[in-house]
Symmetry: C2
Subunit: 226 residues, 2 copies
């Protein structure tokens, strides 16, 4: 099976040769919030069969973007994690997310899936490093069964699947509310006032939240009906 290539000595084309196949960048997106097991990946990506998933992971592993790991106790099950080269794709995924937040996140469509981890990554895409200069804060998001945390540390941020150690703020929020929040279709204040969310902990850190993650104003593309 010969690898298909654009055959261009161009950095963009060579990158797309490696990660431009269908599903590949979404797999990277999943791994950007922490290691995931085979089944986790398949569960997040409806429509991707086990055969193609196995092939994609093998390809990413062979190309040095992903490596197999064994989850720490008590899990002790095999999983996939990004290598440094794989993590280097974060700016690509975040750039795609920023474009989508600006130009493509209208109403959710019937039958469209939603996972809170995607919204967390969407928030990260809007992180404002300048606004975070000199700040340190640990935010935990609890969206029904799933928990994430965002660690802000002087212009940098890390968003990972799982609970935080000693969060400054804990935000408990419903699934739909979180979805709308991360798509700039509502604000955290609205969600709290409407009873869809609650927040506890450091009130000052909470108030800073919407300065740290500045969602873009949605725009509409000129549609061509013809």
């Amino acid at each position: 099976m010969e690898q298909r290539t654009y055959n261009q000595y161009c950095a963009t084309a060579r990158t797309l040769d490696l990660v431009g196949d269908r599903w590949t960048l979404l797999l990277i997106r999943e791994l950007l919030t922490g290691p995931k097991r085979f089944g986790d990946l398949q569960h997040s990506l409806r429509g991707l069969g086990t055969g193609l998933l196995a092939a994609r992971m093998k390809h990413l592993e062979r190309e040095g973007l992903v490596r197999k790991v064994t989850l720490p106790p008590p899990a002790r099950t095999p999983a996939y994690a990004l290598t440094p080269a794989g993590e280097g794709l974060e700016p690509v995924v975040l750039a795609l997310a920023r474009w989508g937040l600006t130009w493509a996140m209208d109403e959710p469509r019937e039958q469209e899936a939603f996972h809170p981890g995607w919204a967390v990554l969407g928030l990260k895409a809007c992180f404002d490093a300048e606004a975070a200069a000199g700040l340190r804060a640990l935010y935990e998001f609890r969206v029904e069964e799933e928990v994430f945390h965002a660690r802000v540390d002087d212009g940098a941020v890390e968003t990972v699947h799982g609970p935080a150690q000693h969060p400054d703020v804990v935000i408990t929020i419903g699934r739909e509310a979180f979805r709308d929040l991360a798509a700039s279709r509502s604000t955290l204040a609205e969600a709290i006032n409407g009873g869809a969310a609650s927040a506890s902990g450091d009130q000052q850190a909470l108030r800073r939240l919407h300065h740290l993650f500045r969602l873009p104003a949605p725009r509409t593309r000129p549609a061509r009906t013809s």
Copy 2:
């Protein structure tokens, strides 16, 4: 003909629904350095047939990323240009380019195509806005038949196909030398000393060039042979 979609309410996935198909991001890449005609596009993208090219352009037009324009006199021929939404994809393409420059630009392979415009975009991907604060300069690159210019203006840069009006610096450079330069496999000074390039104009602006475009140090991915 139903459009294939990931069916995820996720900014990254929705963006990939629009531009994730094969060739699409490379078409955007081509248009990022100015409007191009149908034939120009096909010529740059060996392997992309006329049928698929027409389908892709129609799709991009319908989705509001590209619009048909008529080139100004004396050309007066039809061409394709990016809309604001299409230009918004520049950060995506540049992020792909930066990753490729860091992790994927080893030796050119036999039979791999190369167009100077790709290298110009590669340079742009490495533009250092901070180093350019307060500066203004117009650089023209002449690579055999093709000419490009880079207009630096206080932290911003624009790289466009075509000659500049009153360039501060004109760099005339051979095809291979330019290719190696943009892949961080050699420096402009080396190319000039080796006779593969010459530069005229404002010497101070010329010396600033390699501060403005900081190519990343190439790294190698851990290959897995098994």
